[in-house]
Symmetry: C2
Subunit: 419 residues, 2 copies
Amino acid sequence: MFQKLIRVKDALRIIKKEVGEASLGEEEVEVKEARGRVLSEDVRSNVNIPPFNRSAVDGYAVRSEDVFSASEKSPEVLRVIGAAYAGVEFDGYVKPGEAVYITTGAKIPDGADSVVMVEYTKHLGEDKVIVYKGTRPYENVSRVGEDVKEGDVIYRKGEIIRSFDLGVLASIGVCKVKVRKRLKVSVITTGNELVEPCEGQIEGDKIFDTNRLILKNLLEEVGCEVLDIGIVPDDEGLLIKAIKKGLRLSNATLISGGNSLGKYDLTPRAIKNVGKPGVIFHGIAMQPGKPFLFASIGGKPIFGMPGFPVSNIIAFLELVRPSLFHMMGLRGEFVENEVEAVLTRRVPSKVGIASAVRVSIYKRDGIYYADVIRRGGAGVLSSVGKADGYFIVPEDKEGYEAGEVVRVKLFSNFVKGVR
Amino acid sequence: MFQKLIRVKDALRIIKKEVGEASLGEEEVEVKEARGRVLSEDVRSNVNIPPFNRSAVDGYAVRSEDVFSASEKSPEVLRVIGAAYAGVEFDGYVKPGEAVYITTGAKIPDGADSVVMVEYTKHLGEDKVIVYKGTRPYENVSRVGEDVKEGDVIYRKGEIIRSFDLGVLASIGVCKVKVRKRLKVSVITTGNELVEPCEGQIEGDKIFDTNRLILKNLLEEVGCEVLDIGIVPDDEGLLIKAIKKGLRLSNATLISGGNSLGKYDLTPRAIKNVGKPGVIFHGIAMQPGKPFLFASIGGKPIFGMPGFPVSNIIAFLELVRPSLFHMMGLRGEFVENEVEAVLTRRVPSKVGIASAVRVSIYKRDGIYYADVIRRGGAGVLSSVGKADGYFIVPEDKEGYEAGEVVRVKLFSNFVKGVR
C-alpha cells in the first residue's frame, strides 16, 4: 500500500533532524505559577543557605573555648542567659562562662561558636547548666552558605519545574523565573463524516470527531498550548487554508485523517500545494499507526495523524510526543512509565512491522500479568478504554509466547487491577 | 526520642484502616472537562459500535449470493451502481447483479451483505467490475454492535478518566459523566519563623514557608482541592482554631511543623485538645520523614508533616499520597514511576530505620546510574532540586555497595541525564 514503511526509530531520527528545537521565546512568571513550565535560563541562588549560622540540634549554644575539655568526669558549669528558638533569636551576646538554650534551626547567638547537644547537659536550677562533653568550633552548627552559596547554579535551562522545585526556588530567594513560552500546536481534523462530539445528533453515517478531543487533551497533558482549528470537510482548498493557518499561528500542526490511501486521501496532496519540502515520509512500520505522515514546511512540522482513533493515540505517543519534547528543548531524558508483566497468552505478530498490543494489567502474588485486549482493531476505540497500556512487538519478532515477560508502557499511574 | 518508631508499611496499614474511603458526594461534568476526574458510577455505552454495518476494507459492496463461486478462473461481472464513502452513504438498494464501490468505514448499502476487497476486482469501463473472489455473508463487514453493544459497561466506578477516555466516552454517546467531588485537603503550617514566600523580606532569623507552597502543589497534582489555611504562629489556641477549621471544611488536614520534639512542639498537644481519638502514632522508622504524625478526629485524618522540607516531601510521597488515593476510593493500583539504576558509590545506612536516599540519574550505554546527592540533610531543600528521585534502603539493611542495583522512584518523567 505505502511505498516504503519506515521504522519508528528511524522515523523519530528523521523528524528530530528536520525540526530541531523550536524558537519559543520566553516570558517571566511568578514562581507560584511556574509548575510544569520549562526554564529558559539557568537559575542561580540569590541567598546563602543557611542564611546565618544555625543550630543543627537541640542543646546549648556555647563558646567552645569554655567547654573544650569538658567530659563526663570533669564537666563544666555555665550560666544560662537566655534561649533561642527557630524564629525567635536571642539578641544578647554570649560572654565567657555563659550559654544559651537553643533549638534546632535557631540562629547561633553572637559570641557562641558551637552547640552542645541537650543529651550531654543537665539543667541545674534557674540559670545553670552542666556540660558533660566538649565542643570544637562550629560543632553542631550549620554554617552560613554551607548548603547553597549565593550565586550557585541550582537549575539549568531546559529543566521542567516540578511541584517541590517551587519551594526550592522560593528558598533560594527566587520569586520570578524566566520560562519558555508554551509550544503552540494546531489541531485539524478532516472528514465529511465528522461531527463535533456531543453537539447535535449522529445521523446516518456521521460519527463523532473523537480524535480532535483526544489530541487536544494529550497535547495539554504534555504542556502545549492548543490552537483548535476544527473540523475541515474533505475539500482540498479548505484543507490548504487550514494548514496555512496552522503554520502561521503555531509551532507544529497535527492533521487527523485524510492520509490513508482511499479515495478521499487529500492531506498529502494539500500539503504538497502549501509549500516545501512537504511530505518527508508517509507510512510507518507499526500497527496501529501505519498511515502516520510527517511533513515539514518552512521549518515547521506537520504530523499527519491516522484517522482510526487507536492508531491516532499510538502514533501520538510513539512519534509526536517525543518530537514535541525535542522541540521544547527539554534537558534530560524522558522515561516511560513501564512495568514488566507476564503475558497470559500467545501474541502472534507479522514480521516486518512492529505491533502495539493493548493490554490490561493485574497483579497476583507480587507479579504483574498482561492480558491482551482481544478486540484489537485500530478502529476499536473501546479497546484503549479498557487498556492499562501497551507493549511493542518489534519489527523482527514473530510475536511472544504465553509466559514471556514484556515491558508494558502504562497509559497512567493506575492499573485497573481488579478484574 | 520518639516513643516508638513505626515502619512505613505498618503506618500505611494503620492509616488506611482508620480513615477508609471518604464520602465525597458526586457532581455531573461535561466529558470535555472530565480529564483526571474519578468516576462515581459505572459508565455504559449508549450506542452500538459500529452504529451500522460498515466496510472494514476498500472494495465493492456486493450480495454474496452473486459472487460466492467467483474465482480467478471464473470471475463474476457486476454492474456498479454508485459509491459509498465514510460520511457519504449510498442511499439506493443493491439488487442482484449489482455492486457499489465502497471505502473503509462506509456504511454497507441496503441489499449488499459483504465486501470484496479492491485487490480482487478490476474496474471495467464506466459501470462494470470484474470480481475474482467470492465472499461469504458479512465478509469484510464490521457488524453493528460488534465492538461495543448498547448497555455494555465500559468504565467502572473509581476509575480515573484519562485523555483518550474522553474520546472513548464521546464515541459511546456519553456527553456528561458523574464524578466524585474532589477530595478537599486543608494545609496549615506552624512556626513563628515562617514568612509567606516572596512576600516581604526575610529578616533576622525568619525563613520562607516553602512547605505550604510545596504541599499545595503536590496536592493539586494528585487531583485534590486545596484549602489554604495559611501560617499559624506557635500558639496553641490559634493552632486549635486552625485544626477545627480544617476538620470542618475539608476531608483531610495537613499540618506542617510543630511536631518534632523541641520546646515549641505543639501540634500533638493542640490535636489532643481538639477531639478523639487524636494522635494514633507519632514518629516513623524512616529518614528523612521521622517526625511524621498521624491523627484522626471524628473519622477525618490529620497528617502532621515534618518541618524540614525534605522530610516533608518524602513523608508526603510515602505516606500521605497513598492515603489520599485510598480516601478517593480509586479503582486499581498505583504504580510508581521507577527505574533500576546502578549505584556509583557505597551508601551506608542505619539498621532499624529506613532511609530515603536522593539521587541524580544518568544513562550510559543504555544503563542508568544513580549518583547519591552528598548534601543530604533533611533541611537541605536544594538536595531535592538536584535530585531525579530517591530510593529506599529498607529498615533491615546496612546499606548498599557501589555497583548494586537499586529501584529509584522518579520525581518526574524526565531525568536530568546530562552531567
